[in-house]
């Protein structure tokens, strides 16, 4: 009897501690996430604009309108294409970097630091650095390529392919996935390679049959995270805008259709067109897509992920 009460009071003590230490997070979560998400959804069911006159409930009208709006659908498509490309570039580049850095190599720490470094630079700075780097007349890339005799005359990279110029950033900023994969590779027991080598497995087979299965949870994690973050790309198309940028008009100068990402357009719809509820509906659809996509991916996309038998539930 007395042990039961002790256990009960212990459990209560534990629960009190749990919530006490979680309290700051709960406050932040309620304030920064729960309230805005719910409020945003409710507003997306109305016809609210920047000037809240005669606001009324319109049900799913905004959502239905979204799916007839060619420009909006185009944005979803553009974001989708970008997300796939960005994820593949980032994950493959990061993996190859990690592969090259994994084994003994002179200057390993140096390379790791330098390759990770671009990821640290804020996106707004990266955007401008590349806007100038890729420019036809002022662009350093063109100058270098012409000096090396690879190009005859400058190429206007951003104008020729706005999407391509944004995707170059995914390559340059692959440092994060490199770090993830370096961590992943360090979990693979060396002995397995040695055994496989003795059994006559070449490098390719060791990678395919030992390394890849063992680090598949990390690849999976990285794919999911990259998908979520790429869907949120927002400022890149504004800065890497093929149209000339004047004065302080960065955010009012809309990107071309081929790089008008969902976030960029939602921002434009809300702040420039003042269609609050419509923009929120657009964001909510994206939220639903990300949520659903992630859940589906985690649930059904993970069939190729290796797990230890006892961990499987």
């Amino acid at each position: 009897m007395s042990t039961a009460t002790t256990r009960f009071s212990l459990e209560r003590h534990k629960r009190t501690s749990f919530y006490l230490f979680l309290l700051p997070w709960i406050i932040g979560f309620l304030f920064m996430q729960v309230t805005p998400i719910i409020w945003g959804f409710l507003i997306s069911l109305t016809n609210r604009s920047a000037f809240p006159i005669a606001v009324r409930f319109v049900g799913l009208k905004n959502y239905l309108e979204l799916f007839r709006d060619k420009a909006v659908l185009g944005s979803y498509w553009v974001s989708f294409v970008y997300t796939i490309a960005n994820t593949l570039i980032g994950v493959i580049t990061g993996f190859l970097f990690a592969l090259m850095l994994d084994r003994n190599l002179p200057g390993r720490g140096f390379f790791r630091t330098i390759l990770y470094f671009p990821y640290m630079i804020p996106m707004v700075a990266v955007g401008w650095i590349f806007r100038i780097f890729l420019e036809r007349d002022t662009g350093f890339l063109n100058i270098v390529l012409m000096r090396l005799g690879i190009l005859e005359s400058g190429i206007p990279f951003i104008q020729q392919s706005p999407m391509g110029s944004i995707l170059i950033l995914s390559f340059w900023q692959a440092g994060w996935s490199m770090i993830i994969f370096l961590g992943a590779l360090s979990t693979v027991p060396r002995e397995l390679y040695e055994v496989a080598t003795i059994d006559g497995a070449g490098y390719g087979r060791r990678v395919r049959h030992i390394m890849l299965p063992l680090i598949s949870p990390f690849i999976f994690f990285q794919l999911v995270m990259s998908f979520i973050y790429a869907m949120q790309a927002f400022i890149q198309p504004y800065i890497l805008n093929p149209r000339p940028i004047r004065g302080n008009w960065l955010m009012t100068n809309t990107p071309p259709e081929e790089t008008f990402f969902v976030m960029s357009r939602a921002y434009y719809i809300i702040t420039s067109q003042n269609k609050f509820s419509y923009g929120l509906a657009m964001l909510w659809v994206l939220f639903a897509v990300v949520l659903l996509g992630t859940i589906l991916f985690v649930k059904f996309g993970g069939f190729w992920v290796y797990t230890e038998a006892e961990e499987r539930k």
């Binding site: 406050i27 932040g28 805005p36 400058g154 400022i235 939602a266």
Partner: protein
């Protein structure tokens, strides 16, 4: 036999070394471009054929990057907001990680899933409505929002702290509890000093996030309170609204410098912390 394997390893290392050097050189090009551009004259940028290096290094651009906009003011604003965000972000994440590692109650797992799922919420989905609410209440232009943003923590860091705390033997706390120490005493005296590496990783993340955050300041804050991220994004321009790339690049050098310094002084522990704590499990 052993010798050939050894030789092959060395050959592979040399091969990878050369490739990596080439990649590093390519990676440096945009940064070199930034630096070189920051020292050129504006008319020099449009001259064809273009030159790689400036005719004469124009260090004056660095002075103008500081004076053309009130750079010092935005710098101070950025620092204030970064501290206002980073401190609660680190503490809240650390607390939460501790709660998940040590006080597992029936609903812990479910709550942890909620924490992880907040990673899936696109920032704009919360920030846009928050802005509308705050604007409606007349609270939009308030720095205190950064504090609340910090309280919401960083899911990845919460995960990291949970891993770190899980590696600390539970006997450490039990002996302290025997001595009659309260839960917060135990946390601050014993546990917190043991997760320093985690704190460094969290600090770098939090710093990087709020330093580069564009959406929040551009929506919420008036120019008086605005940050470097916004100013850098908008770029420098002259009276005729021509964008001054050279001075802009000098501004970006300033803007990026604190991150470079913090990263390079702490990177050894940062990477070690990431590799040790977060990624195994």
């Amino acid at each position: 036999m052993a010798l050939t394997i050894h030789n092959r390893d060395r050959l592979s290392a040399a091969f990878r070394f050369v490739i990596l050097i080439a990649i590093v050189l390519i990676f440096f090009l945009p940064l070199v471009s930034m630096f070189v551009t920051s020292l050129k004259r504006m008319d020099e940028l449009y001259r064809v054929p273009a030159r790689v290096f400036p005719e004469q290094a124009l260090w004056k651009n660095y002075l103008e990057a500081w004076t053309l906009v009130r750079f010092g003011k935005y710098l101070v604003n950025s620092i204030i907001l970064t501290l206002l965000y980073a401190l609660p972000a680190i503490m809240s994440s650390c607390f939460a990680g501790y709660a998940f590692s040590r006080f597992q109650v029936r609903e812990s797992r479910a709550v942890f899933l909620v924490v992880l799922s907040t990673m899936m919420v696109p920032a704009m989905v919360t920030i846009m409505p928050l802005y509308m609410i705050m604007a409606k209440l007349g609270f939009a232009n308030q720095r205190i929002l950064w504090f609340f943003w910090g309280l919401a923590g960083i899911p990845f860091i919460i995960f990291l702290f949970r891993q770190f705390f899980s590696t600390i033997p539970i006997s450490f706390e039990e002996s302290a509890r025997m001595d009659g120490a309260g839960r917060f005493q135990i946390f601050f005296r014993i546990m917190f000093p043991l997760v320093q590496t985690g704190v460094i990783v969290a600090a770098i993340f939090a710093f990087q996030w709020s330093w580069s955050e564009f959406l929040m300041p551009v929506l919420f804050l008036t120019d008086e309170k605005s940050t470097l991220a916004v100013k850098i994004a908008m770029g420098y321009s002259d009276m005729k609204e021509n964008v001054l790339y050279n001075i802009g690049m000098a501004g970006i050098v300033y803007y990026t410098l604190p991150i470079v310094i913090v990263f390079f002084s702490l990177q050894r522990r940062f990477v070690a912390g990431l590799l040790a704590g977060g990624l195994k499990g």
